[in-house]
């Protein structure tokens, strides 16, 4: 086996005194889509933030193409070839769509390649082309998600981190976007680490999955296997009713906020 493009090795991450990640390990193999599932507050976003360098883990290693990047700032991690599409899109609201895409290519020095890749983005997301010179803050939520993905692609990543791309989008649009995520994975040969709450869709899209609960990996496996596992169906795929555990956790979170 070749080495994975990303290896997360027992990371522990804190927000001040609060421990969000309690020893998570996971691998992303080259060319794969790997998904991380979990309820609200399970620590999915925190894992991605630790990988991309926004948070520094207290313990553990993050190996990107064999290199430890655990304490590197996010702009340097990005320069190594990893782009992060954050939760909530985080576009630049007062820049135009095209300027946003250009910012995605900030680190690149090949103007011809950048122009070509903008066209590629417009091919994946024709809606963006129509709104090319509009301020990004005026786009709809779905369009902003497209822009955030397109902007990350502009950085020519070998690994793409996607944090809940389905958040707040209509089922139809979610289907479209996941279709494009699959295409990007195949056509651009980009490995993808995908965080999702929409477990069904994520497991259908990805090759391998991890299930996170309160900062720990509680299950992992091929997506087909995970899709069949009874407990996962129960808690994450809504096959049975929502379940007492889920409700309880939700209440707990509400109390803390």
């Amino acid at each position: 086996m070749t080495e994975p493009i990303l290896r997360v090795d027992s990371i522990e991450t804190f927000y001040g005194p609060i421990q969000a990640i309690r020893g998570v390990s996971l691998d992303v193999d080259r060319g794969q889509i790997v998904t991380v599932l979990g309820a609200n507050g399970a620590g999915k976003t925190s894992v991605l933030r630790t990988v991309s360098g926004v948070l520094d883990p207290e313990r553990g290693r993050v190996l990107f193409e064999g290199r430890d990047i655990a304490r590197m700032p996010p702009d340097q991690v990005m320069r190594l070839g990893m782009c992060h599409v954050p939760e909530g899109r985080e576009i630049f609201p007062f820049l135009t769509v095209r300027e946003n895409l250009n910012m995605g290519a900030y680190t690149r020095r090949d103007p011809a390649g950048v122009t070509r890749d903008i066209e590629l983005c417009f091919e994946y997301f024709p809606r963006l082309k129509e709104r090319e010179s509009q301020r990004a803050g005026l786009l709809s939520g779905g369009e902003q998600q497209m822009l955030a993905i397109g902007r990350a692609l502009m950085g020519n990543p070998r690994l793409l981190l996607l944090d809940e791309p389905s958040l707040g989008l209509s089922p139809l649009l979610v289907q479209q976007i996941f279709g494009i995520i699959r295409r990007i994975n195949r056509e651009q040969n980009v490995s993808i680490l995908l965080v999702e709450q929409n477990a069904h869709l994520a497991l259908q899209t990805a090759d391998f999955g991890y299930v996170l609960e309160v900062g720990r990996v509680v299950a992992s496996g091929d997506c087909e296997t995970l899709l069949r596992r009874a407990d996962i169906q129960e808690f994450y795929l809504g096959q049975k009713e929502a379940g007492a555990r889920g409700t309880r956790r939700w209440k707990k979170k509400r109390l803390w906020n």
């Binding site: 991309s52 926004v54 700032p73 996010p74 702009d75 340097q76 990005m78 320069r79 782009c83 992060h84 954050p86 985080e90 576009i91 630049f92 609201p93 007062f94 820049l95 300027e99 250009n102 910012m103 995605g104 900030y106 680190t107 803050g137 902007r151 990350a152 950085g155």
Partner: protein
């Protein structure tokens, strides 16, 4: 007829000093938009820039243009260093820490300038000192006209810089969403230091442009208070807003000095500011969308 000429004169003089306020206000706004900090030492940075130009031009006998540009570069470098070495350390601290830090820096700058250059007013010869131009019968001081022209020119340059250059757009991006800028591989800290450099350079330019109509002295930074009013009036958010806010303050001040009893001139900027806060607290040019959408 005589009265109309007088009024035009007042407007031009007011616009000229207003441009100075506007330039300092612009420095406030650039830094605020990027880092949500208010640099209360902005006026004192202008003072240092003025003294730097004075030293280069009057002491080292450099030509006005060479000395001026060199002073701007030096002051910009000071702004960069200020952020990279000091300001950066208080990021994430409560607002009052930042306020105290920049107020304290202002004190240090004034004391330092007093030690280095003394407490007397100084000045240097500029190509615009004591000259007039005749625009269709209207006689204007070249000093005022040079301030207005310099400000307009600078705004044009800044506009092109922020909208057309890669670094300029990245500055906007980092001001709008710092985290996302990091994700794009933009070196946000360096970008912020560069914004401090631009603000300091603009303040120095203000000091140089001001020198034909006002002497340079240790306390000239107190203009910063009027500039602050200008920034608030302009909505604390846009470059044209700051300059227009400054011009409003400058013109009101001139007319207050002309029409109203003594004393009103000094407080007029505060009165305009108060009125503004009552009538339109978000300022003239408040951006319609929040910082994050």
């Amino acid at each position: 007829m005589h009265d109309a000429a007088r009024i035009l004169q007042l407007i031009v003089n007011g616009a000229a000093s207003g441009c100075i306020y506007g330039l300092i206000a612009l420095g406030f706004v650039l830094i605020y938009k990027a880092t949500e900090m208010v640099n209360f030492a902005q006026g004192d940075v202008m003072m240092l820039g003025g003294f730097a130009a004075f030293t280069l031009i009057a002491h080292f006998h450099l030509p006005y243009w060479v000395g001026g540009i060199l002073a701007i570069v030096i002051t910009a470098a000071l702004g960069y260093a200020l952020d990279a070495l000091i300001i950066r350390r208080v990021i994430g601290q409560p607002q009052f820490a930042v306020v105290m830090l920049t107020l304290g820096l202002g004190f240090i700058f004034r004391a330092g300038a007093g030690i280095a250059w003394g407490y007397d007013s100084v000045g240097f010869e500029t190509p615009f000192t004591n000259k007039t131009i005749d625009i269709g019968g209207l006689i204007l001081g070249e000093d005022s006209v040079s301030i207005i022209a310099g400000t307009v020119l600078l705004c044009g340059v800044l506009y092109l810089f922020f909208s057309r250059t890669r670094v300029g757009v990245a500055m906007q991006a980092a001001s709008q969403n710092q985290l996302a800028a990091y994700y794009m591989g933009i070196p946000v800290r360096t970008i912020f230091s560069l914004i401090w450099a631009i603000s300091a350079g603009v303040a120095c330019l203000a000091g140089i442009l001001l020198s034909p109509i006002s002497m340079i002295d240790v306390n000239m930074g107190s203009l910063g208070i009027k500039a602050f009013a200008a920034a608030v009036i302009g909505g604390f958010g846009s470059i044209p807003g700051s300059v227009i806010g400054g011009v409003i303050v400058g013109i009101v001040e001139q007319f207050a000095g002309y029409k109203l009893p003594a004393g009103f001139q000094e407080v007029s900027s505060n009165i305009v500011l108060l009125l503004m806060l009552f009538v339109r607290p978000q300022g003239l040019f408040a951006e319609r969308m929040g910082k994050r959408v």
